[in-house]
């Protein structure tokens, strides 16, 4: 590791420590009561959490971390039921078919909002479900290999891509209407560059494609490539936020790069069916929101770079985030010529 890389890593670590210290000092739900009685003895048995993705990915891990935090807080067991497939469709369908009795909760990501934006017959996470808590909110970045010598920063990357006449490549999850594809449209429209997006639905082959030089750049969230950043293998050249967080202060943000669009965020949260009994929903809100500030959960979020920006939304904040996101996607889909149902 060169001295420069070491200093960069050290500065990131220091910034992280400062943020962690701040997070330990005060947390979003500290003001909630330390305990709460469930209505009429509820819950009398273990809860079930439907997770529409596999256990090893980001959703599987956050589901486990949150389930353990809730159990640690309340002594109520939570069985996780993974139903992967169809970009979250299978899990959502299974959840909507489960009894709305407050014993089954759902983990889901912003894909549920974009799916509803594209097809309004699919459940709206802000109306058909009640968000208990949004516990992870993160942003995206563009990465290149640290050893790359054809370009070294955002400006030289844009110039190089333009010179390739559409032959430059970037790895991402370019599913129709996805956050990645929409954001890339914003970027290519704003810069005038043409870049071929290569679709990788799984993380490992996507990161391997950049590490092995199969593609020129990578679109990803920092928590997912933290090991590559810590090892000095990848480096971010653009932070897709209007104001970069302190940990990435030396990476250009949208304002620095002269890109004028509203960034889309990746978020993960926990939901209950809107038809569930109101008093049970209130208890679930308390349990999941309070669990967000449990020490173990905060440590988990920190390890995943999920404390760089405000990662917490309560029920109303989550509804607002989802509603804004749906509106934003719908507007973009129309300009992209996608059929919005």
């Amino acid at each position: 590791m060169t001295v420069k890389k070491y200093l960069l890593n050290a500065s990131v670590a220091l910034a992280m420590s400062a943020i962690a210290g701040h997070a330990a000092a005060e947390c979003a739900t500290d003001s909630l009561p330390a305990s709460m009685e469930g209505p009429d003895g509820y819950p009398e048995r273990a809860l079930t959490m439907i997770v529409p993705y596999g256990p090893a990915g980001g959703s599987g891990q956050v589901a486990q971390a949150m389930a353990e935090a809730v159990t640690g807080l309340t002594d109520v067991s939570i069985n996780r039921d993974h139903k992967p497939g169809g970009s979250g469709t299978v899990g959502m369908t299974a959840y909507m078919a489960a009894p709305a009795d407050g014993y089954t909760v759902l983990e889901h990501i912003d894909d549920a909002a974009s799916a509803h934006a594209l097809d309004s017959t699919k459940p709206n996470p802000a109306d058909d479900l009640i968000p208990l808590v949004t516990s992870q909110i993160t942003f995206s970045q563009i990465y290149i290999r640290t050893e790359e010598d054809r370009f070294t920063d955002w400006n030289s990357f844009v110039e190089w891509v333009k010179a390739q006449d559409g032959k430059a490549t970037i790895a991402n999850v370019s599913k129709e209407g996805s956050m990645e594809r929409v954001t890339m449209k914003f970027i290519t429209d704003a810069t005038g560059m043409q870049i071929q997006q290569i679709s990788f639905d799984k993380g490992a082959p996507r990161y391997g494609a950049l590490a092995g030089g199969q593609v020129d750049a990578l679109f990803e969230q920092p928590g997912d490539v933290r090991s590559f950043l810590d090892a000095g293998k990848f480096k971010p050249i653009l932070t897709i936020l209007k104001e970069a967080p302190d940990a990435f202060a030396d990476v250009p943000d949208l304002v620095d790069a002269g890109l004028d669009f509203e960034p889309l965020l990746r978020f993960r949260g926990f939901y209950v069916n809107a038809g569930a009994p109101e008093d049970r929903v209130e208890w679930l809100k308390w349990a999941f929101q309070k669990a967000y500030c449990q020490e173990d959960y905060q440590a988990y979020n920190e390890s995943k770079f999920m404390t760089l920006i405000d990662s917490y939304r309560d029920t109303d904040g989550s509804k607002e985030l989802i509603t804004e996101t749906v509106a934003q996607y719908r507007a973009v889909y129309k300009t992209m010529g996608l059929e919005v149902k």
Binding site: G54, P55, A56, G57, G60, Q61, Q64, E68, D81, H82, K83, P84, G85, G86, S87, T89, V90, M92, T93, A94, G166, K167, T169, S174, K175, E176, G177, S178, Q196, Q197, I198, S199, F200, D201, K202, A204, P205, Y207, G208, A209, A211, G212, G213, Q214, V215, R226, S227, F228, D230, A231, K233, A299, S303
Partner: protein
């Protein structure tokens, strides 16, 4: 020499810790048992254990999973041989010749060959893994992109089509049927729904585990039940005679070839042991002077498949540990174990946690060796399951297969898929089609479609782009030559393609 010293240090660390020894042997036995019980697999055990690894040290947690990986891949061979039920997709080719060997009264020889060759394949790949993990990982990801992986899949399908069924056309139709099933669900690039008939559950596609359970286990029960009903049922002859050293030595070239194939497939992220086993088996058939003997109980078939799939286990650890890139479901769970301990697999693991890496390497080495000891003891007892009368064994297998199909995703449709595949497999096998070809088409079809789409995007939708990638071009040419050779064999030499129990 450094590697050897590190290995010794890892071995001492592993065996000087009583809890470590306990976890090691727990993993060895657990992996074998869950691999051997029809309907569950090493993945089931790993998923159950995943949350508990938070309470273990990182060394113990990762070591446990790597041991389960080695012995679980072997364990699935037992049921493939005894009951035609592959414990996992990577054991499917083992059943092609292993089950006919059981029917021929050679169950002991088949199990013995699987034990011996699983251990050889696993130990060989461990040695290469210990010697050159970082260098191999860097080479694999820079030399093998989507175009090369697609070309590899194409070559694998071309070889499989020519060896699986009773005729050229039936071989290809079986593969094509598998490819058609593979396109059900979301397309891997644009996320568009295909052939799901507005059924949300079908949007996730047809999973290959219920399909394998249906085509192999359920259809086999139907076949045996028909024989029982018509009075032509013969109980498999029980035998615990293991192969002699001389018998195994005759297949030394097959072992070396399959170990190389297995290692090569295992090191590619997202490919792993399943393709390794099929490729190992297919190449054994292709290079054999007695191609017609495959599928009828040839020991070389078991040897090739089992050497290759265990050789893939050590290789799959290379991209995981060196780059943080898991190759399959179990290695993806290992990433979860790392992360539970605030660690990420990847280049920093070698710098920050060399002790952990070498304890894992030593554990995998000894887990593969232990297959020899525990495997022989286990095999001597499990073969006795054949004593259970069919009318009692069949419902038990059906029950376990049903649980296994449902457990994959907790979806009833997977149980339906299993029984539909069972009925279809019953009739297809009678007609000389290859159910193994269908399963291979399904498994490789998903990988092939995705990598083809990615390759086309990378090559700017120009086929000529393959000309500039020598490895991809070489594999495509090899695939076309294989197809031409099978056409020549089928239509000009008037020698039918080999038949198979598949």
């Amino acid at each position: 020499m450094d590697a050897f010293n590190n290995f010794l240090t890892g071995t001492v660390t592993l065996f000087s810790d009583p809890i470590g020894i306990l976890i090691f042997f727990g993993g060895v036995v657990g992996g074998m048992l869950f691999g051997a019980i029809p309907g569950v697999s090493m993945l089931t055990l790993a998923a159950i254990l995943l949350p508990f690894t938070a309470h273990l040290s990182p060394e113990h947690g990762i070591m446990l999973f790597s041991v389960i990986y080695c012995t679980g891949v072997y364990g699935g061979a037992i049921t493939a041989i005894l009951f035609n039920i592959p414990g996992a997709p990577e054991n499917a080719p083992t059943a092609f010749d292993g089950y006919p060997m059981t029917q021929n009264g050679e169950a002991g020889k088949a199990v013995g060959a699987a034990v011996m060759c699983s251990a050889i394949g696993g130990v060989a790949s461990c040695i290469v893994m210990m010697a050159a993990t970082a260098a191999i990982a860097d080479w694999a990801i820079s030399a093998f992109g989507p175009p090369e992986i697609f070309a590899l899949v194409f070559f694998g399908l071309a070889v499989a089509a020519s060896v699986g069924a009773k005729s050229f056309w039936k071989g290809w139709l079986s593969i094509m049927a598998g490819l058609m099933i593979a396109v059900v669900g979301l397309d891997p690039v644009g996320g568009l729904e295909r052939y799901n008939f507005d059924m949300p559950y079908l949007a996730a596609g047809i999973h290959f585990i219920p399909t394998i359970l249906g085509f192999f286990a359920v259809s086999e029960i139907f076949v045996q039940a028909e024989k029982k009903a018509t009075g032509s049922y013969n109980a498999p002859k029980l035998s615990v005679d293991f192969p002699t050293f001389k018998e195994l030595w005759q297949h030394k070239i097959a072992v070396v070839r399959s170990a190389i194939i297995g290692f090569f497939c295992g090191v590619l992220p997202g490919i792993g042991a399943t393709l390794a086993a099929f490729m190992g088996y297919n190449e054994a058939v292709r290079w054999s002077k007695d191609r017609e003997g495959f599928g009828k109980g040839k020991m070389e078939g078991v040897i090739s498949s089992e050497t290759a799939n265990n050789a893939a286990t050590g290789a799959a650890m290379i991209p995981l540990l060196a780059l943080g890139l898991p190759g399959g479901a179990l290695t993806a769970m290992m990433v979860g174990v790392f992360q539970m301990h605030d660690m990420e697999p990847g280049p920093l693991v070698f710098i920050n946690s060399p002790d952990l890496v070498w304890v894992v390497f030593a554990a995998m080495f000894f887990a593969n060796l232990s297959i020899l000891l525990v495997g022989f003891l286990e095999a001597k007892t499990i073969v006795n399951l054949l004593r259970i009368p069919f009318q009692y064994l069949a419902p038990l297998i059906l029950l376990l297969a049903t649980v296994g199909a449902y457990a994959v995703r907790g979806l009833t449709i997977d149980v339906v898929v299993m029984f539909v595949a069972g009925v279809a497999g019953f009739f297809l096998r009678r007609s000389g089609y290859s159910v193994a070809g269908i399963v291979l088409g399904l498994i490789l079809g998903k990988i092939g479609e995705q990598t083809f789409a990615q390759a086309m995007q990378m090559l700017h939708f120009e086929f000529s782009g393959f000309l500039g990638r020598p490895i991809a071009l070489g594999l495509l040419i090899a695939g076309f030559i294989t197809i031409l050779a099978s056409i020549y064999g089928a239509f000009f030499k008037k020698v039918p393609a080999s038949s198979s129990a598949g």
